[in-house]
Point group: C2
Chain length 377, copies 2
């Protein structure tokens, strides 16, 4: 292969590709980025066998030449190191030329690197995902959905399905659920129909968080395709492929209690900062537990740690309904849940000291966050 | 004590004070910040016994009240944790009130913290440094001097004096020297007289690097006072005290060779970036050694690593004089030295393959950097 390529554009695409590359891979060749030069485009591939990212670089973008193809061919080059070189070179264009032994000459301005490359035939084949039966979402919507659910996936491998987000396709839309069994995040997308022949797919949380680093907060379309074991996100010149998690996701619908006993509506940002302050002492005391009491139309947060001290915080509420309550919870879970609710006012519904409570926007059911309390009272 | 203080101003001063506090202190009380409320000012003290920082907060700055003193007194409060609380509170002012048991109530808006404090009488006394015989430097000059020398101090404790910068007072000015015995940084300040009754002081590199984080790149004056074992930098409302290193600094004047064999003048920034690129491969190969060859009025940098590949870089030179040369050196030392020379053009003088070489600005002797080569040819 022999090409000349716009250095800045190349760096951006290589950086996306690097997101699929893990330094802890068991297959050394997966430390590399595969470069395939075809007749009229270049294909970059990075993979850690869980996630694969494929990027197509055309010869022109907006009538500006970004890639000149002098000779087709393929090579695999050491990922991070290769990208570092391209970044530190000077000049607008960089030339790559590979010989039969996959030795690759990289030249720009007065610099010349000669790198040992690897045989692209050693690179594993990517899974095939057919481009049929696709769901189309604006990138910004997908990004928000991931932000509102992904934080709640489990980080423990004891129940692997809980390390993913469950996408469930219903008659009235799609629901996205993540839970680590201490808290649960639910997002609903009403009205988006998708008849994929199957009703549910569990996408690894790690894959979604890498995807979210790449897609921009824009109207650009993301096509989502499912096969038996894989999901493909097709986004501009990029194909992002992740394996799906096998197994049955637990039925979480029964977790949501009915008929609240106490209902409090607070300003999201004020409440978030109050929790943040009170949690300072909770953390210093060695746990993240803070207490909340609702009595006489008054909400108070508190925490104490025998060695360090105590903290009390009065909360301004918009509305309080129902019975008095004392409850304790993990402040981090509460802060995560508040961040996931894109609304000025948040309604928290309690069902008694020992039962899970829920948070949602005061005027929408799109996002529901559920948190299990901690027994301290 | 009982005060009300401007929160933002307090945070800035506390952050400065934290720079003296080390989490690895052997005296638990030194994890705290001492607050002394006097009749007309407040004194903050932080120390790790090597460095101490004392900040005076007056009641008014520019006719604006920043501190209201309701009752004098003292307390020691857990450093980082206390500062985190002040940062996360809301409102412009925060109130502090300490009782006889050093319990301290911190209130702002609807938040109330009650912290266990420590008896200030347990806090060690700071060393006394008299405010006589002072040297006065603009903050920006002091900052530059530290940047041009401090990187070269030794990080190894085998020869403790080498972990400091040697300040030497001569008839024609002051010279500042740092060396880790592989490279040396020398800065001269001509014309600044200082008759302190002693001719040399070795200031720990760590102290200088903390000092540099605090002083701004401005014309503000820094007064420097020396006592037998301590140095005091007096800067605005702050007193920064460091111990001096004991022992004799080696005589480094004999290290500088005379009569160069080869002399090359290059553009500082271009040469720096070339070294940076070539060092990519040197690092990947497991060491930082790069080669430089001067022949036929041509300068070339190169590095190779059997597994990874090779790199060559032609250098644009402004001027080459003297004999051909092949020499190898540590690329990090070279990059550090180039950064320390605030000049567009750098002159490098070589005295043969195995002898130290020097770098300086092409038109000034203020900064001289010396590097020992590595034997590879």
């Amino acid at each position: 292969m022999k090409i000349s390529i716009n250095r800045q554009y190349f760096i951006e695409q290589l950086n996306h590709c690097l997101k699929a590359i893990s330094p802890r891979t068991t297959m050394p060749i997966l430390n590399g980025i595969k470069i395939d030069v075809k007749d009229d485009h270049l294909l970059l591939t990075g993979s850690d066998s869980e996630i694969s990212i494929e990027i197509t670089i055309p010869t022109e973008i907006n009538n500006e030449e970004i890639l000149e193809i002098k000779e087709t061919g393929s090579v695999v080059l050491s990922g991070r190191f290769f990208v570092d070189i391209i970044k530190k070179l000077s000049g607008n264009f960089v030339d790559l030329e590979t010989n039969d032994m996959f030795q690759t000459k990289i030249t720009a301005s007065k610099s010349e690197f000669n790198l040992s490359g690897n045989d692209p035939d050693q690179y594993p084949l990517l899974p095939e995902v057919k481009d049929e039966e696709s769901l189309v979402l604006p990138a910004s919507v997908l990004k928000t959905i991931v932000n509102q659910t992904n934080f709640a996936v489990s980080t423990s491998e004891t129940r692997p399905v809980l390390t993913g987000v469950n996408w469930q396709f219903n008659d009235d839309g799609i629901s996205f659920t993540a839970t680590d069994s201490h808290r649960l995040a639910l997002r609903r997308l009403f009205g988006t129909k998708f008849n994929a022949g199957h009703s549910t797919a569990i996408i690894p949380g790690k894959s979604l968080s890498e995807l979210n680093k790449i897609i921009s907060d824009s109207d650009a379309e993301v096509e989502v395709h499912f096969s038996q074991n894989q999901v493909l996100f097709s986004y501009g010149h990029m194909r992002f492929i992740s394996r799906l998690l096998e197994g049955n996701y637990p039925d979480t619908s029964r977790l949501f209690p009915e008929n609240n006993e106490t209902k409090v509506t607070v300003n999201n940002s004020d409440f978030y900062h109050a929790i943040d302050r009170v949690s300072l002492l909770a953390r210093e005391g060695g746990n993240n537990v803070i207490r909340m009491s609702v009595s006489n139309n008054n909400v108070e947060l508190s925490s104490n740690s025998p060695e360090v001290g105590t903290v009390n915080e009065d909360i301004n509420t918009q509305e309080i309904e129902g019975e008095d309550l004392k409850i304790s919870f993990n402040s981090k879970y509460m802060m995560d849940a508040l961040k996931a609710i894109n609304d000025e006012d948040v309604t928290i519904e309690f069902y008694g000291t020992m039962r899970p409570f829920t948070l949602k926007a005061s005027e929408s059911d799109e996002v529901v966050q559920l948190i299990l309390p901690i027994r301290t009272y």
